[in-house]
C-alpha cells in the first residue's frame, strides 16, 4: 500500500502543475483541427486582407434573422423580481440585432465557431466567473449544459478499467454515462454533511492496485444541494477534500447546478441600489467553491443555466486549467461543436449593459433562491402536519438544492427482517430494507398516486475490496430514503405529502 508524501500546503506558481498524465488515451490521441497546419501557414502569412475562397460558410447576409427580441422580467424593482414576474410585473426586452449595436450581433452569433464558443459570450461569462468565483488561473469554455459538459469531461479522463470516485448516493442520469465504455464507480460514504473526507482517504489508502487496477484519480462531486441527498459540503470539508486531492493527485469535478439555490443565508441588503454594493453583499452569501481554492489547477468546475434560467436553455460553461480547457475544446470541435447562437446571444445580452448586467442577474438569482426557500418551507410545513405524526418518516432541512431526502423507519415494519451478522462480506445487506423500500415506492405510485424516487435508484454498488469491515453498515441497509422535490407548485406539494402520509400508514399497518 502506497502512502504518498503529504503536501497540504503546495502553492504552485499560477498552477503550472503538469496534470497531463490524467488524460485518457482517447484524449491524448485526439489532435487539434486537422487544418491546423494550413491555418498556421495562413496566419503566418504577412499579407493582410487575404481573399477568402477557402470555407463553405454561408455569408451572414443569408441568415434569415434581422432581430430577435426576448421578453424577460425587469430586475429594476430591487426587492423581488421573481414574485413580480408572476404577478404581471414590469418586463424588459433584450435585443439581438443585425444592423444595430448590441453585445453579440446576429452576423457574428450565427457563424461557425470553434472550441470554447463565441468570444463575446465567453468573455461575458469569464467576467461573471471572475467576479463570483475568483478562480486563480482558469479558462472558460461553453457547453450545452452540465450533462454535455460532464460527459465530455468523463471522456477526457476515463477509459476502460478506470474507477471514478463519487458519493455513495449519486444521480444515475450522470453516473450511468461512462459505464458503457468501461469506467466504474466507487461510492464514498456520506453523512448529512455530504461525502466524508476521512472515508475518501480510507478508500485511497486501502486501494489494492494489484487486485483492482489503477487507483482512482477522478473525484466527481455535486457540492451544493447534492443530488439526491440535498447535502452541502462545508468549507472545512472542502479544504480537507482539496488537501486529499493534492496528496493523492486527484482531479476534482465540481458539478454545481444548484450553487445559487442555497437557503437560510443572511439576506443581501436588496434595498441597496448601488450595484457594486449589491454584488459584494450577494457574493458574501455564497459558499467558497473548490474552484476558488484551486491553486494546482486540478478542479474542473461546471456551471449551468438549467436551474436558474431554464433547462431548455441548454447552455453552461466549464472553468478549468489551460491544458484541460484546450483538450475540451479539441473534443468539442470533434463532436458537438460550440453551442447554439440563440443561447449565446441571450446570455451575452442578459449580462450586458443593455440587459440585466451582472448585478441584475444576481438580483434574479437572489429572488429565485427566496422563491425556492418558500417552497421548501411549505413542503416542510405540510410534512410536519401530514407525515411526521405517523412516526414512520422524518426529514432534515436541506441547505440547498431542489430535493428533500426523506428517511423512512423500515425497522418499524411488521415484515422488517434483521439477520444477526457474524462474519461474511461487509457489503451484503443484513436486513430487507431495500426490498421494503421498493415495495413502498410501488405502492405509493400505484395505490396512492404519488411518485418519489427511491434511494435504491441512486446507490453506487459497494465492493468488499475497498470497504473496511469494522462497524461498516452495508449500503443496502442504509438505503432507506425517498427523494422528493419541492420545485413544483404548492398544490402538488400539498397533495403529495398528504398521499405520502396516508401511504405510509397503510404500508406500515398492513
Amino acid at each position: 500500500m502506497h502512502t504518498p508524501q503529504i503536501n497540504n500546503n503546495v502553492t504552485s506558481d499560477n498552477g503550472v502543475i503538469d496534470l497531463s498524465h490524467h488524460l485518457s488515451d482517447e484524449a491524448r490521441i485526439r489532435v487539434a483541427n486537422p487544418l491546423k497546419d494550413i491555418m498556421r501557414v495562413i496566419s503566418e502569412c504577412p499579407v493582410t486582407d487575404l481573399i477568402p475562397m477557402a470555407n463553405g460558410d454561408p455569408h451572414h447576409s443569408f441568415y434569415p434573422f434581422q432581430q430577435i427580441m426576448y421578453e424577460v422580467p425587469s430586475v429594476q424593482d430591487p426587492s423581488d423580481p421573481v414574485t413580480s414576474w408572476n404577478n404581471s410585473g414590469r418586463t424588459q426586452i433584450f435585443h439581438s440585432y443585425r444592423d444595430q449595436e448590441c453585445a453579440l450581433p446576429i452576423s457574428k452569433a450565427f457563424r461557425y465557431s470553434r472550441a470554447a464558443g463565441l468570444v463575446q459570450c465567453k468573455d461575458a461569462l469569464t467576467n461573471f466567473s471572475n467576479l463570483i468565483f475568483a478562480p486563480p488561473n482558469h479558462h472558460v469554455m461553453l457547453t450545452f449544459g452540465n450533462s454535455d459538459g460532464l460527459t465530455k469531461v468523463f471522456r477526457l479522463f476515463g477509459q476502460k478499467g478506470d474507477y471514478f470516485l463519487t458519493d455513495e448516493f449519486s444521480y444515475p442520469g450522470i453516473t450511468n454515462c461512462p459505464l458503457p465504455y468501461g469506467v466504474k464507480w466507487v461510492g464514498i460514504k456520506m453523512d448529512s454533511g455530504g461525502i466524508i473526507p476521512e472515508e475518501l482517504e480510507k478508500v485511497l489508502i486501502r486501494w489494492d492496485e494489484a487486485k483492482l487496477g489503477r487507483r482512482p484519480r477522478i473525484l466527481y462531486l455535486v457540492p451544493v444541494g447534492q443530488n439526491p441527498t440535498g447535502s452541502t459540503l462545508s468549507v472545512d470539508r472542502r479544504k480537507k477534500i482539496y488537501a486529499i486531492a493534492q496528496t493523492w493527485d486527484l482531479i476534482i469535478i465540481e458539478d454545481d447546478p444548484y450553487y445559487f439555490l442555497r437557503y437560510d443565508v443572511p439576506q443581501t441588503n436588496c434595498a441597496s441600489a448601488d450595484p457594486d454594493e449589491f454584488i459584494k453583499n450577494f457574493t458574501s452569501t455564497l459558499i467558497p467553491t473548490f474552484l476558488s481554492m484551486d491553486v494546482d489547477g486540478r478542479v474542473i468546475r461546471l456551471d449551468t443555466f438549467s436551474k436558474v434560467l431554464a433547462p431548455g436553455m441548454r447552455l453552461g460553461w466549464i472553468t478549468s486549467n489551460k491544458l484541460f480547457h484546450l483538450k475540451l475544446g479539441e473534443y468539442t470541435d470533434s463532436s458537438t461543436q460550440p453551442p447554439h447562437a440563440f443561447g449565446q446571444m441571450f446570455v451575452t445580452e442578459m449580462l450586458s449593459e443593455h440587459g440585466w448586467k451582472i448585478e441584475g442577474f444576481c438580483r434574479w438569482l437572489r429572488s429565485l433562491r427566496l422563491e425556492y426557500q418558500n417552497r421548501l418551507d411549505f413542503l416542510l410545513d405540510v410534512f410536519q402536519r401530514e407525515v411526521e405524526p405517523t412516526g414512520y418518516a422524518s426529514v432534515k432541512r436541506p441547505e440547498a438544492g431542489m430535493f428533500v431526502w426523506i428517511e423512512v423507519f423500515f425497522e418499524k415494519h411488521p415484515r422488517f427482517v434483521h439477520e444477526r451478522c457474524s462474519g461474511g462480506s461487509p457489503v451484503v445487506a443484513r436486513t430487507n430494507t431495500e426490498c421494503l423500500l421498493k415495495e413502498l415506492f410501488e405502492t405509493l405510485m400505484n395505490v396512492q398516486g404519488v411518485a418519489f424516487v427511491p434511494a435504491s435508484m441512486f446507490t453506487i454498488p459497494e465492493n468488499a475490496l475497498w470497504v473496511e469491515s469494522d462497524g461498516h453498515v452495508p449500503l443496502g441497509d442504509r438505503t432507506r430514503f425517498l427523494r422528493a422535490t419541492f420545485a413544483s407548485t404548492e398544490d402538488i406539494i400539498e397533495k403529495g405529502m398528504i398521499r405520502l402520509g396516508k401511504g405510509l400508514r397503510e404500508f406500515f399497518q398492513e
Binding site: M53, H59, F62, P64, M69, S335, V450
Partner: protein, 506 residues
C-alpha cells in the same frame, strides 16, 4: 422514449414492414452502444405520466413560472416576396415576425420548449421534419431524431457503430475534420477511389471483395459518404451510382452514413412553375431534387444526416437524423447520456417557422429555392470568371458543380517544367510524382499573392490497406474553392488565381 415513425405516405413500399421485422440491427452496434442503458430516472417519469392523476414529486424540474422568458420574437424575411433571398439581402423585402410564447398559444409553447425533454427532441418538431422527409424522400419506414447539427450527429454515429480497431469506408477526399474525429475512437479509414462523378462503385466493390479479415481485421461495415456537393470535390452522385452503391451495401451488409448538408442547395433544377402553382413548392422541389439513399432504403441500413447549417445558419446548431427505429432508439440513448435534447429556442423557432403562423413547409421550400437561385448565380459567375481568367491558360480546369458550395479545381501539373512522374517512392506504395511538393509551393505562392483556397492534401485520406495501387499524394493536384463570398471576392480571387498560376508555370 416516445417516437413516432414517419407516417407512411402513398408512395411508400407496402411489403417493407414484414421484411424489416426479421432484421437484427444490433450486430452493427459498437460494444459501447450495446451495453448502454436508458436513463433510469426518466423511466419513472414515463410511468408517472402513464397513470393520470399521479402526483410527480420525483423530478427536480424548475417550474415554468420561473422561466424568465415569456416571449421570443424573431424578425425574419417575408416569404411573400417573389425572390425572398434577393429581397432580404438587398434590404428591399418585407419582414415577418415569428413569435414563441410561454403563456399564449403558439406552435410550440415555451413551457414545453424550455423544459427538460427526451433526447430525440420535441414531438412537434420531429413530426414537422418527418413530414418534410415524407414529401421529399418518402422513406420506407424510418424515425426522425433531432441533432445539434451534422458534426454532432456524425460523431455520435461513429460512437454508435464503431469499435476500436474497426475499419470504416470513406471517399478518398473527404471532410477530414470529421474523419479525424473518428481516429481517437480507434476507427481507421479505408478510402475509396473517386472520379469526376464522385465515389467509384466498382472500387467500393473491389475493396470489399478483396478484404482479407485474417490480415486486415473485421471487414468494414460502415460507409461515410457526402453524396451532394461532396466535400471537397463538389461532385453529386448520379442516381445510377447511388443505386449501385446501395446494392453493394446490401450485398456486403454495410451501413450508409448519408451526410447531406448541401442537399437543398441544388442547381439547374428546372423547377416547374405550374407545379408550384398547383401543388406548392415542396412538391415542385421533390420532383427535381436528387434521389437520396434514404429514399431507396428498404433494408433500413441508411442513417441520413440533415442540417439547418447551410440553409438557415451554422449557429442554429440543429439538424435531424433519419434512420430505422432501432438505430434511432440507440442514438437517443446516447444523446440522453451526453448532450441531451436540443435547445428550446432552436426547437421553438423551427416549430414556428414550419408552422401555420410562419413560413410553413412550402414557404421554407420557397426560401430554399430562392437560396438555390442565389447560389447558382454565384456559381455561374465563378465559372464565367474562371473561364476567362484561368481556364484559357490550360493550367487549371474545373467541372461545373451541380450543387453546394465547392468547385474542385484541377491543376494540370504535367505542364510544369519541374513536374516529375517517375520518382522512386521513398516507401513501398509511396507516391511516384512530386505532386505534393509542387502543390505546397503553389499554395504558398497563392497565399503570398493574397488568396486562400484549400489544397486537396487537407482532405486526402491515405490508404493503409496496400490495395489501392497508387498513393493519394500523386492525385492531390486540386484546390477546393468556394463561391459563397461576394461578387467582388469571386472576381478578385479568380483574377489573382489566374495570375499566380501564370507565375507558377512560366
Amino acid at each position: 422514449m416516445v417516437f413516432l415513425p414517419s407516417t407512411a405516405s402513398a408512395t411508400s413500399a407496402v411489403d417493407v414492414g414484414l421484411k424489416r421485422s426479421h432484421v437484427d440491427y444490433s450486430r452493427y452496434l459498437s460494444a459501447e452502444a450495446r451495453s448502454r442503458l436508458p436513463n433510469p430516472i426518466k423511466s419513472i417519469w414515463k410511468v408517472a405520466q402513464v397513470k393520470p392523476g399521479t402526483i410527480n414529486m420525483g423530478n427536480g424540474d424548475p417550474h415554468h413560472t420561473l422561466y424568465p422568458i415569456c416571449e421570443v420574437n424573431f424578425v425574419v424575411p417575408s416569404i411573400d416576396e417573389h425572390d425572398p433571398v434577393q429581397s432580404w439581402r438587398s434590404g428591399t423585402g418585407e419582414q415577418n415576425i415569428i413569435s414563441s410564447y410561454k403563456d399564449e398559444p403558439c406552435a410550440l409553447s415555451l413551457r414545453t420548449a424550455f423544459a427538460y425533454g427526451a433526447g430525440a427532441g420535441l414531438k412537434d418538431v420531429r413530426d414537422a421534419l418527418a413530414d418534410l422527409n415524407d414529401r421529399i424522400h418518402s422513406p420506407p419506414n424510418h424515425t426522425v431524431s433531432l441533432s445539434l447539427g451534422n458534426a454532432d450527429a456524425l460523431t455520435k454515429c461513429f460512437r454508435l457503430l464503431g469499435d476500436p480497431g474497426d475499419s470504416f469506408l470513406c471517399e478518398e477526399f473527404t471532410f477530414s475534420a470529421m474523419t479525424n474525429a473518428a481516429l481517437p475512437l480507434g476507427i481507421e479509414w479505408v478510402p475509396i477511389r473517386m472520379d469526376n462523378n464522385g465515389l467509384v462503385p466498382s472500387d467500393l466493390e473491389r475493396i470489399l471483395s478483396n478484404w482479407d479479415e485474417a490480415k486486415q481485421g473485421k471487414r468494414p461495415h460502415v460507409l461515410y459518404t457526402i453524396p451532394c456537393s461532396q466535400n471537397p470535390t463538389g461532385s453529386t452522385l448520379s442516381l445510377e451510382r447511388r443505386q449501385q452503391i446501395y446494392q453493394i451495401a446490401h450485398d456486403w451488409d454495410i451501413i450508409i452514413l448519408e451526410d447531406d448538408p448541401y442537399f437543398f442547395l441544388q442547381y439547374d433544377l428546372g423547377v416547374s412553375q405550374s407545379t408550384i402553382q398547383q401543388y406548392g413548392h415542396t412538391r415542385a422541389m421533390a420532383e427535381v431534387l436528387p434521389r437520396s439513399f434514404l429514399s431507396m432504403d428498404y433494408d433500413g441500413r441508411v442513417m441520413r444526416l440533415d442540417s439547418f447549417s447551410k440553409i438557415v445558419a451554422p449557429g442554429m446548431r440543429l439538424g435531424w437524423v433519419t434512420s430505422n427505429s432501432y438505430f434511432a432508439d440507440k442514438l437517443d440513448m446516447l444523446t440522453d447520456s451526453s448532450s441531451q435534447h436540443p435547445h428550446g429556442m432552436g426547437q421553438a423557432f423551427v416549430a414556428e417557422l414550419l408552422g401555420s403562423n410562419g413560413w410553413g413547409v412550402d414557404g421554407f421550400m420557397k426560401w430554399i429555392l430562392s437560396l438555390c437561385n442565389e447560389y447558382q448565380r454565384r456559381r455561374d459567375l465563378f465559372m464565367d470568371v474562371f473561364r476567362q481568367k484561368v481556364a484559357t491558360s490550360g493550367f487549371a480546369t474545373a467541372e461545373v458543380p451541380q450543387s453546394g458550395m465547392f468547385v474542385w479545381i484541377k491543376i494540370n501539373l504535367e505542364h510544369h517544367a519541374r513536374f516529375s512522374a517517375s520518382q522512386t517512392p521513398t516507401v513501398p506504395g509511396g507516391p511516384t510524382t512530386n505532386t505534393a511538393d509542387l502543390m505546397d509551393e503553389l499554395f504558398r505562392k497563392l497565399l503570398n499573392n493574397g488568396l486562400v483556397m484549400m489544397p486537396a492534401s487537407t482532405f486526402a485520406i491515405a490508404d493503409r490497406t496496400g490495395m489501392m495501387g497508387s498513393h493519394i499524394n500523386d492525385r492531390v493536384n486540386f484546390f477546393r474553392a468556394t463561391f459563397v463570398g461576394t461578387d467582388e471576392t469571386i472576381r478578385n480571387g479568380l483574377a489573382t488565381f489566374g495570375r499566380t498560376l501564370e507565375e507558377f508555370f512560366l
